[in-house]
Symmetry: C2
Subunit: 306 residues, 2 copies
């Protein structure tokens, strides 16, 4: 294999109760990447279409992730990467993760799969380190594994692929303001009350249980965030109204996607997910905020060859 | 039905990572109770064999739980309760929960099951309120539902029955010292670091996932407690050594049962669970501490008619 063209998905991290540990992959929202094997060693970013992002390998998340992978090989050749960027950076649906994960996944394919998926997460995390200062895995893991994933532990890295019910759809609205992950992290408190922490891990347990048993109602009841959402939601215009209207339109639950500003909702079935999209749009149209909106099945496969 | 004799199980609450939310029921450790329908209204505790506990209905956890149930009926008769107490109060394996849960379960049977299991948890929690000052559900829930249970939420009460793998066995050692639940609660901090909380809910997610997929290794990796165990274990003699030796003997994980002082370990298979028991015993024999020890399959059924 000399060249590969892939779809690499947008992802929703945290998923309300699972701050820093849970994530899921979207199916119809994502970037495309073309990765080509070339004689010249190293990694070159040849082109980025759709966004103004650095082409220098060391300043580009895909480049850095690819180099992390190659540093554990004796590869006698190199790679050129072209990125068709559909996910807006800073939107909160894993823009950097899609590029980082896509690069390492494609190179691993071309090399004949010397690395397992958890290894790929580890390499892709280096892209996240460049993007946010923190090598977090909650976006790159679902991009690489597909479906819902749990980052159980970082030391050692332990990623669990969680059963994902078929009828689960996500609606994501992206108000056109930028919230940097690093800023969204800074406003968080470093301590939480034990009482809230208990509620939170009760909900993590409930959500995971609901996913395995395909109990949509339990999934919905568990999509509550007592710790992060009350703080971060103040950075997002009309968050409470969007959430309220989404639930009213039939969403199982609604919360902040990653560090925002995108807001996601999960629904049972595409029809409801579309109704939720209409309800979300209405809120931002009323207050006059520009937005992008997506409705997507949960992507069980992750990155795909095109 | 005029009279019922039941086995009501001992339970392990918290299960390392799941403080205040997770619990499991034991199969061969528990109390027996005889509940008799009588003409006289109200609840009378007629006899308690094996332990010196109050017979006055309002001072007895079984009595209080039974009254909580009856207050939601128009019952024209009453009940006599006899308790054969095998679980030592203050041992940390749900002594009060067994009595509270047993009383309400048996009365519900005699009444023709007007209440569902979550209702029974709610009534039994009143017994826990009497015993510990806190109406917690993490022992009464597994006693009533069997297997592993998750208390996802208290407001509203939401108990989730979690799939329990067949080959899971518990070993429990009870050093003969008393740790009161109320004391064990008082030493806890009211805040925790966000960093530790994240690790904890990662493990809750991992444990629940491991239970559904019967991934014993993942169950073991998830049995880590970053928040409660470091504080409470100082109340338990030789805790670190017991834990270390249990893991060395093949246990998947080891931690404090409820608020202690009992220490539990989970193992795959009875043979390993027995080896773990030998390893635990050895530690307390060396330091000269009296103990009770139990090896039990996880009880998927909960309370049983004898």
């Amino acid at each position: 294999m000399e060249q590969i063209k892939i779809f690499t998905p947008a992802t929703i991290a945290n998923v309300s109760c699972g701050f820093d540990v849970l994530g899921l992959a979207l199916d119809t929202v994502g970037d495309e990447m073309i990765i080509k094997k070339v004689a010249k060693k190293g990694v070159t970013i040849t082109k980025i279409i759709g966004q103004n992002l650095p082409l220098e390998t060391h300043k580009n998340v895909a480049g850095v992730a690819a180099l992390a992978l190659l540093s554990e090989t004796n590869c006698e050749f190199g790679f050129e990467i072209e990125i068709i960027k559909n996910i807006k950076p800073g939107s909160g649906i894993g823009s950097s993760a899609a590029s980082s994960a896509g690069a390492v996944w494609a190179i691993n394919e071309i090399l004949g799969k010397p690395f397992n998926t958890t290894d790929l997460v580890r390499f892709a995390m280096e892209g996240e380190r460049l993007a946010t200062g923190v090598p977090h895995a909650d976006n790159v893991a679902p991009a690489l594994f597909g479906g819902f994933t749990l980052v159980r532990s970082y030391q050692p890295l332990d990623i669990i692929s969680i059963h994902t019910p078929n009828e689960l759809f996500a609606t994501v609205i992206h108000p056109q303001i930028e919230v940097k992950t690093s800023d969204a992290r800074e406003i968080l408190k470093t301590t939480v009350s034990l009482k809230d922490a208990i509620k939170q891990w009760g909900n993590v347990g409930g959500l995971i249980s609901g996913l395995y048993t395909e109990d949509y109602d339990l999934i919905g009841r568990s999509l509550e965030d007592y710790i992060i959402e009350p703080i971060r939601s103040i950075l997002i215009p009309a968050f409470d109204t969007v959430k309220q209207q989404s639930l009213k339109a039939g969403a199982l639950g609604c919360g902040i996607s990653g560090s925002g500003p995108s807001i996601f909702a999960l629904s049972k079935g595409e029809e409801t997910a579309k109704k939720v999209a209409d309800a979300m749009k209405m809120v931002y149209e009323k207050v006059g905020i520009d937005y992008d909106i997506h409705v997507s099945k949960i992507n069980k496969k992750g990155i795909k060859i095109l």
